[in-house]
């Protein structure tokens, strides 16, 4: 039987739901995407110091890895790492590479690649396949060095054909951010869990996404047609006519479901007993508003960073930022709130224009507001741009990853300075409301102080769940422990809502939880009246809200709060959910 045409079913982990059918497109591994260009003699020193930096970072990586493995007790693996560390001191890698850069006068990546390729060729010429296996270490080390050399030039997806299924070992948030749903029908990767930033963007855009598939093992010519089922986490290569027909039908049914929801768009978001709920949209790019005209009640979260993470290699100037913010404001209008979250960078969201930080634990490192306060030159320009763009619009500023009152006070001081400066330049400047993201447990515990000092609060459930449960949201192996409706999280949300009510400061919820109709009645019952989620989910959430009375929702929340077992809470919610 011809293997090429045989149906093959691969099970991965579901990341973003939806069904896609298309031709596979493989994003080449890093090694094959290396740019090659000549350099001037005057650039040699810069190239060499860039190379040394890459070696240094590679060594840091390996030391950290060795440390982690030693803790796990994997001494066998740790000895490999010793070899790799030692290889970074290999004269071939150090002295000879630098000599080559000087002589060849080409960019480091291409010199490095040709050096390694030459080595591989020579190696293959003289040894049998038994020895060939030893190239693995060399390849691994060189891939690591190249990764550091090319850290800031992950490729754009512009080359991908329309309607393709994109296969890649790993995606950077900038990849998913740049993808258009009409161009890329689905993502299939080896790495990347259900709650990573890439996953969030894929879901926001409605692009199906399956992770945990051994992409390297697949051959680009293995399949002409691929089906991706993002709900089940299934990837099917070369489907039979029968399978194809089945999935086409399911795909079309899904589309019809959304069309039904769209019909409800003119209806109000209110409960059965006419309690009004404000539904706002999470937006990562002003263009999204053209795709989904649902943002009737404003923007609950504009992720200012995503726009700039789309492959831009220089820091966006004040003028450029003003243009972007203004275009968003223009689309939404002056009379609806627009919550602009200032750059949420660091962690797995790394800006191309900024030298990569080396942190042993980025999730607990310089991200969100910490990153901005450490790089005030970036923050300063953004604040100026935001105040300039705001004009008469209802713009509100949101600060990510606040964990301490001092951070809010520092930002307020900086804002005063910016306003003063703009006034000195002859601009009319209004006060803009300022709020804190509540996404770490410390912020929950001091939310009263944060609400008093600020103007509103916004609950970011993804990080709040991650930090409360101590579960890495991007780790597929941990996804079963990632319970958004964990008793601890529900109690926190309740506490935040109570504080907000008492101090009369609005509380919004803008995490993934807000986009899942399973949680909608529970969140209503916990006291939330403003939801913000990806525009495509808004009709679904509205439909759910319209099936509940506020009293029933309170009752549901009360019942859920009595439970200590997250499974029992999920069961209760499933039992109570009102579909169709």
């Amino acid at each position: 039987m011809n293997l090429k045409s045989k149906e093959r079913r691969l099970q991965g982990s579901p990341v973003s739901e939806g069904i896609a059918i298309g031709a596979p497109y493989f994003l080449a591994p890093l090694e094959e995407r290396i740019p090659e260009f000549p350099i001037a003699v005057t650039e040699v020193d810069t190239e060499i110091s860039r190379y040394r930096k890459a070696l240094f970072s590679s060594k840091e990586d390996l030391r950290r890895l060795r440390h982690d493995l030693a803790i796990e007790g994997s001494s066998e693996a740790a000895s490999f790492i010793d070899t790799h560390i030692q290889m970074l001191d290999d004269p071939m890698i150090t002295v000879q590479m630098e000599e080559r850069i000087r002589h060849m006068l080409r960019n480091t990546e291409s010199v490095f690649r040709s050096t390694i390729r030459e080595y591989e060729t020579r190696f293959s010429e003289r040894s049998d396949s038994f020895f060939e296996e030893r190239l693995v270490d060399v390849r691994d080390v060189s891939e690591r060095i190249l990764g550091h050399l090319c850290a800031d030039q992950k490729p754009a997806l512009g080359m991908a054909p329309r309607g393709c299924i994109l296969f890649a070992k790993e995606l950077a948030p900038s990849h998913t951010a740049a993808a258009l749903p009409t161009q890329i029908f689905a993502f299939v990767t080896e790495q990347g869990g259900g709650n990573s930033h890439c996953a969030l963007i894929a879901r926001a855009k409605g692009i199906p996404f399956v992770a945990g598939i051994d992409v390297a093992e697949l051959q680009p010519d293995q399949a002409a047609v691929v089906i991706v089922d993002g709900l089940e986490g299934v990837v099917i290569l070369n489907p039979t006519e029968e399978t194809l027909a089945h999935y086409k039908e399911r795909r079309d049914q899904l589309i019809t479901r959304y069309q039904v929801y769209e019909k409800e768009n003119p209806l109000k978001a209110e409960t059965l007993d006419e309690f009004p709920i404000r539904l706002m949209a999470n937006v990562g790019n002003p263009v999204e508003l053209d795709l989904f005209p649902y943002a009737q009640e404003g923007i609950g979260l504009f992720r200012t960073e995503y726009f700039f993470l789309q492959g831009q290699r220089v820091f966006p100037s004040e003028e450029q930022q003003v243009r972007v913010y203004s275009s968003l404001i223009e689309k939404v209008g002056d009379n609806k709130p627009i919550i602009m979250r200032v750059f949420d960078l660091g962690g797995d969201k790394h800006p191309a224009f900024f030298p990569k930080l080396k942190e042993p634990n980025p999730a607990l490192g310089s991200r969100g507001i910490r990153f901005l306060l450490k790089t005030p030159e970036i923050f300063y320009i953004q604040l100026r741009a935001l105040f300039k763009a705001a004009k008469q619009a209802d713009v509100r500023l949101l600060l990510p990853l606040i964990s301490d009152l001092g951070e809010l006070l520092q930002v307020k001081k900086l804002i005063e300075k910016v306003k003063k400066e703009l006034r000195a330049e002859g601009m009319e400047v209004r006060d803009l409301p300022i709020g804190c993201m509540i996404e770490v447990p410390s912020a929950v515990m001091i939310c009263e102080a944060l609400a008093q000092e600020g103007d509103f609060l916004s609950i970011g459930t993804n990080d709040l769940v991650q930090y409360t449960l101590g579960v890495d949201r991007s780790n597929p192996a941990m996804s079963e422990l990632f319970y958004p409706a964990h008793p601890s999280v529900l109690r926190m949300i309740k506490m935040i809502c109570q504080v907000g009510n008492r101090l009369n400061k609005p509380v919004t919820i803008c995490g993934e939880m807000a986009s899942n109709p399973l949680f909608t009645p529970l969140l209503l019952g916990l006291g939330l009246t403003t939801f913000s989620c990806a525009p495509r989910y808004l009709p679904l959430i509205k439909q759910t809200i319209r099936k509940w009375t506020i009293v029933e929702a309170y009752k549901l929340a009360e019942d859920a709060l009595r439970l200590n077992d997250p499974h029992a809470i999920t069961e209760l919610l499933l039992f109570k959910q009102r579909n169709g």
Binding site: S79, F80, D82, T83, Q86, M87, D89, D90, P91, M92, I93, Y119, R122, F123, R126, S127, D128, F130, F131, R134, D137, V138
Partner: protein, 93 residues
């Protein structure tokens, strides 16, 4: 001083990554220039990648050349290392 001596590879898997790492590490403490010659090819023994390139299997005969002030000790520790298969299993094939 310049010394030269023939040694036999005892490691089952030949001079693969682990002994090559041990050699590079051992030589870090020395100052002499050290070369391995096998099948007419001479390489810098401080370079793991070059040692791997020799593709020297078990029982391969390697000529060690050491040139420098601490040649004697360097040669001695290398010969010992080969003798003990750099701490690896060296059973008969």
């Amino acid at each position: 001083m310049k010394l030269s001596q023939k040694v036999k590879v005892k490691n089952i898997l030949g001079l693969h990554a682990r002994p090559a790492t041990a050699i590079a590490r051992l030589l870090q403490k020395t100052r002499s220039q050290v070369f391995f010659t096998y099948r007419g090819e001479t390489v810098n023994a401080r370079s793991i990648m070059s040692i791997l390139m020799l593709a020297a299997g078990k029982n391969a005969s390697i000529v060690i050349t050491v040139d420098g002030e601490d040649a004697t000790q360097t040669m001695q520790s290398l010969v010992e290392g080969f003798e003990q298969a750099f701490g690896e299993a060296a059973h008969e094939s």
